[in-house]
Symmetry: C2
Subunit: 353 residues, 2 copies
């Protein structure tokens, strides 16, 4: 027998505090107990992001949070730069197009990331940029501080919104400190909770730029409600209690957590590279290790070989489907788990290659 | 000591199958196990609604599902009838206005419901109607079969969308059988699960009328993904597993369940009326009993008196705030619980009035 292991880049293995919170009787969201926990969850997220602005919790996936940022920070017709280097950066382009923005799309090799040089090519009228910090589909990590600084140098007023879905509580993040105006993340990644909640972080500059748009995703309405620990619409309160319980443990110890994530990913990449596997990303995110499949080996074979060992892994998405393998320990896991993943990888490659 | 009782019209006491499902290790949504459960949950909901169309599960509150229907079934500028008789029917009007529809709003006394006579007054060019079956803010139940038939008789092509948030699995519902094209509901009411998931039911006529709109709430995209047990965006899969587990028990026994809900509400109303309390609704929904507060008694006093007995109750919303008391047993409860509520009500009124 092998125990079941979730090695996917979200959903992830749950933190025990999340399971505890989710096993409780139903709590009503309009009670003092719920309001205090709601406010505490938002406070921990503000601390994790290091922002003096606000963090909102939305009931919906991170895609909802991305759309909320596009709708509430930009007007139809405005020009935004969207570099596309994976499935999630491509999602920004789709959302912006659906919202009627003029998308200045720049297609890059999947696995690479945009650099400050790319900014020199852009048109002069840019209203903002939609960026992906950790591109989960390729395992690539953007050098966000440099890119945001370069953007800001050329477009002082640009609104910069960033998908930090797999960087928050996985890799260092910044909002004001990095010149980023707004960011999103979700409950099923670095917060080690089930999916269903997303987070929207708004730096003071973004708060000043907010315009009410839509209904369910109207962030101005959420801001008014969440000031007092409520939400505009019935929230997934059980998940909020779970998130609060986990954040209260992991945010105060986040330096150690980020160091662990970095150490884990290095163990996995080292194991893969020793076996001759080629990494997909040019700049590695600690959220997920991505390898090109060896010649003559299919993803179905790899998936099945891991499954025989109790592990659920992830393959490629979009144009990388069937071409890569992705392994993640973003959830409740330690360095010993990285050794287990390395061992499994060695066994699987030995068996198939 | 009193045990804690949730007497609010959502969230409600959880079904034990929901708590069981939510205490499990994380399941990945892109696995065969998850796909089968997703499809089964949708099948049970189709059966509960009695439709030959489709039921979609969305990660978001029922407000998201309402907005999805408005966006995907109507075009900006189209005229829709929205009778307003409580907070949730008013929400339809707000959503339709935000979506750029022309709202033919008819304000009724809160506690009453629109009737077939109201339809004679309407303009001739109506594209559809947005109705609320069980108006949770007043405890009123619409005579939906009669109203939909009258609408259909005058406007053969009208698209009729109905909020069935607190009628699905609480009171009899119908889609094609009643001439209704689409409906929404949420996980934290008759399905006895936590909040965070909403359901969209589409009769065959609505499926034919669907137009892609927005991004997160684009139902055409959801339809394509949910055909195979997936969803367009990462779903609240833990909640879907909980919903499936509960529905598998309650949907096959739904006749008995609806009879219980009716019997419970009668016990509570009888107790209140015996104590001289006046019901708010003219036509009573089995989802929630609503009473006007006795002269000289504040809602804060009532709430506190129930709280001393371990019970969390609900007051009025919007213009009814501070004026009414609402009591519900929509969750995991039986007829003995209705006797407990009646007993508490008697004690509280005896103490305060």
């Amino acid at each position: 027998m092998n125990r079941r292991r979730l090695l996917t880049p979200g959903p992830v293995e749950l933190h025990p505090r999340a399971v505890e919170a989710l096993s409780q009787p139903q709590v009503h969201h309009r009670t003092e107990e719920a309001r205090l926990q709601f406010l505490e969850a938002a406070r921990w997220l503000k601390e994790a992001w290091g922002t003096q602005g606000k963090v909102l919790l939305l009931t919906g996936s991170a895609t909802a949070a991305m759309e909320a940022l596009v709708l509430n920070l930009f007007q139809p017709g405005e020009e935004v730069w969207v570099p596309v280097y994976g499935k999630f950066s491509e999602r920004w382009a789709e959302i912006a197009t659906a919202a009627g923005l003029k998308v200045v799309r720049q297609d890059l090799e999947w696995g690479s990331v945009p650099t400050p040089e790319d900014i020199q090519e852009l048109p002069g009228s840019l209203a903002g940029a939609l960026l992906t910090h950790s591109e989960t589909s390729t395992g690539a990590l953007l050098d966000l501080p440099s890119l945001a600084a370069a953007l800001r140098a050329r477009f002082a007023e640009a609104r910069i919104a960033v998908d930090m879905v797999t960087s928050l509580l996985v890799s260092p993040v910044g909002l004001e400190a990095w010149g980023v105006d707004a960011a999103v993340a979700g409950s099923q990644k670095g917060s080690m909770c089930p999916p269903g909640l997303s987070y929207v972080a708004l730096a003071p500059r973004a708060l000043a730029e907010l315009r009410a748009r839509g209904y369910y995703l109207d962030l101005s309405r959420e801001l008014r409600a969440q000031e007092r620990g409520e939400s505009a619409w019935t929230p997934a309160i059980n998940l909020i209690l779970a998130v609060r319980a986990v954040l209260a443990e992991i945010v105060p110890a986040r330096e150690e957590l980020l160091a662990l994530r970095q150490a884990q990913i290095e163990v996995i990449y080292r194991a893969g590279e020793r076996l001759g596997l080629r990494p997909v990303p040019e700049r590695k995110s600690p959220a997920v290790a991505a390898f090109w499949l060896p010649e003559g080996v299919t993803y179905a074979q790899v998936k099945e070989a891991f499954a025989r060992r109790g592990a659920i892994v992830a393959g490629g998405q979009g144009r990388l489907q069937g071409k890569i393998l992705r392994l993640s320990l973003m959830g409740y896991s330690d360095l010993y788990d990285a050794l287990v993943v390395a061992q499994m990888l060695e066994e699987v490659v030995g068996e198939l290659a």
